[in-house]
């Protein structure tokens, strides 16, 4: 393992034509290779690291906290110059942080926040987007749109929640519930709130169950785009016009953007995975050079509506 890392870093140094003294080997521990968002994140991170002449080695914890701990231990034992960790579980980041700090390896946590933040050792950094923004942007924009449609006399709707074991689902749900308490948005009433485990298929069935209650409604808030799309498919199958319902998701996936261009999805929020990946590299390089880095660095979420989508630099393609 050590030999191969050394060989890899040497090859990288030669290929990249940079002074060998600056070429670093960065260990990147991801929580799961299959996750689409994380794929963009780590690929963005790797491309950026390589463009700067550094080598990045990726390992996959397959959602296993114990496995990730061993992988980080392995990285340290094999003498990587820096570590980027996307923790499997935000509350399990502490031991990895401590291990890296004791070995003196500069470390950045990306996307998943060590909880509590005090469990992250001094001199380490956390790069992510703040979930407080995602659900708030989404629900507030839906509130504005419902108002613009003249529904401020009262609007009813449903909230599709992601996997409750994940921090994002919990935070986005809190965001939505806080927005509908604002004086400006308290005409919105959430009449049903259930989890569909982030899945399109489950959201489809849940929405059909809600439709069977016969309640009138004006909006559907979903913690992610996949569930928003499932709800849209269920409503269209029941013959409901998408002009009559305001639907919002989070993630700005390809399918969601297609549905937005097609006039079905009204609101989504873009989490810039590539920017997070590059931010993590920037932060870890500064740590290696002994520069000071803020403990928390947030890449902003971006609100996407059909209007914004038309001119968005990355998504309008």
């Amino acid at each position: 393992m050590k030999k191969s890392i050394l060989a890899a870093s040497l090859t990288a140094a030669v290929l990249a034509q940079v002074p060998a003294a600056q070429a670093l080997t960065i260990g990147y521990a991801t929580h799961h290779f299959d996750d689409k968002f994380s794929t963009i994140l780590r690929n963005g991170s790797q491309a950026y690291a390589e463009s700067l002449g550094h080598e990045m080695i990726q390992v996959d914890a397959q959602l296993d906290v114990g496995r990730q701990l061993d992988q980080v231990r392995n990285f340290i034992a094999n003498g990587v110059d820096a570590l980027i960790i996307q923790a499997v579980d935000s509350t399990a980041a502490g031991p990895m942080s401590k291990m890296a700090a004791e070995a003196g390896v500069p470390t950045v946590f990306v996307n998943r926040k060590p909880t509590p933040l005090e469990s992250m050792a001094d001199g380490q950094a956390y790069v992510a987007s703040n979930e407080v923004e995602s659900g708030t942007y989404q629900t507030y924009q839906m509130c504005l749109q419902l108002r613009a449609e003249g529904k401020s006399g009262g609007a009813r709707g449903y909230l599709l929640v992601g996997d409750l074991a994940s921090e994002a689902a919990v935070q986005r749900t809190i965001d939505a519930e806080q927005v509908v308490q604002l004086d400006m948005c308290n005409f919105m009433e959430i009449i049903g709130k259930e989890t569909a485990m982030w899945q399109r298929n489950e959201a489809q069935d849940l929405m059909t169950n809600w439709l069977s209650t016969g309640e009138d409604f004006d909006f559907v808030i979903a913690n992610n785009d996949e569930m928003a799309l499932g709800a849209i498919q269920a409503m269209k199958a029941a013959g409901i016009s998408m002009d009559d319902v305001v639907v919002g998701g989070v993630d700005a996936t390809d399918d969601a953007l297609a549905a937005m261009r097609g006039g079905d999805l009204d609101v989504t929020v873009f989490q810039n995975a590539k920017a997070q990946g590059e931010g993590a590299i920037d932060a870890v390089l500064k740590l290696v050079n002994g520069e000071s880095v803020p403990r928390e660095y947030y890449v902003p979420f971006e609100l996407i509506t059909p209007e914004i989508l038309k001119t968005h630099p990355e998504l309008s393609k």
Partner: protein
Amino acid sequence: MSSTTHGLGGLKYDPKKRHRPPELNVFVALVAIVALFEVLGRMFVGDSFLFNTRDKVDTLFNEQRLKIIILQVSIIGIIALGVTQVIISGGIDLSSGSIVGGVAMITTAFAQSALNEYGMENVKPILGAEWLDLPIIVPLAIGLSVGLLAGIINGLLIAKFKIPPFIVTLGMMLFMRGVATFVTKGRPISFLQEDYVAIGTGMNPVFIFIGIAIIMHFLLKYTKYGKHTYAIGSNEQAARMSGINVDRLKVLIYAIAGMLSAVAAIVMSSKALTGQAGMGLMYELDAIAMAVIGGTSLAGGRGSILGTCLGALIFGVIISGFTFMRLDAFYQEMAKGIIIVAAVILDQWRAQKQAAKA
């Protein structure tokens, strides 16, 4: 069978001692759960679970709810039909959920269209532009073959190499989940062609489920295949001695189970308009649970397709009932867990009582 029960070994035929079909108990449980939701609904929600209380439409029942009750379990139900015969034969199949994921990804990769439902152009075809808009038979044949092949491999390893079904299908479960993520490195597949999407629209999943259930019921109840399946599940040695080709039968049983998982994959990806690597996650356990609630014994030799269909309906009623009661999903999971264990306890209690009577 019925003719041999008369006057053998001094035993008299006593209609009181005739076995009550176990499905009847499952059916009673189903009716009881529905009645419970009806009563609770009227007490706490002020609405009826079963009946139509809206003035807009002119029907006696809440048809939309009855439809979703069965629609939401028909996909796992299709898997459960295959799993039922595997369990009756004394085996187990843990690979069905992962086969759904693998087949969904492979099939949808071949079922892509140049345009999506909004008329937008498919700029990133998975297999390249020349593989778009193939005749619908191509993705279907490929998908079903993959499921069939996975099932045959399961069966061969179990029958020829005498590896326990738990281990073999556990291996296949991991392998097929790997295949599912390998196809596109985890990227979801969309832009599915219209013919393919038509398979899972509306109530089609239910019709497919019922159609397959009828075929499987007939197969298990009235053919040599079915009788031999019960025989090897009751006593494999005795079945082998009496001349049943146990190995060939096992391969066939797992092959059918694998193919039904593939059918479920096709219906599911077509219904959701997408192929995703995470599809079918943990479905194997729900499918086994449906069979067990329906009276299929994990010891083998006992169970029926009718029972599994009723087991699936109980699942559907619980899901819809909890949404109707506005209770969150974790209560659903708790209820499902309790019902599975309760079903087995009741089943064993009944078996003991019957043994004591005889």
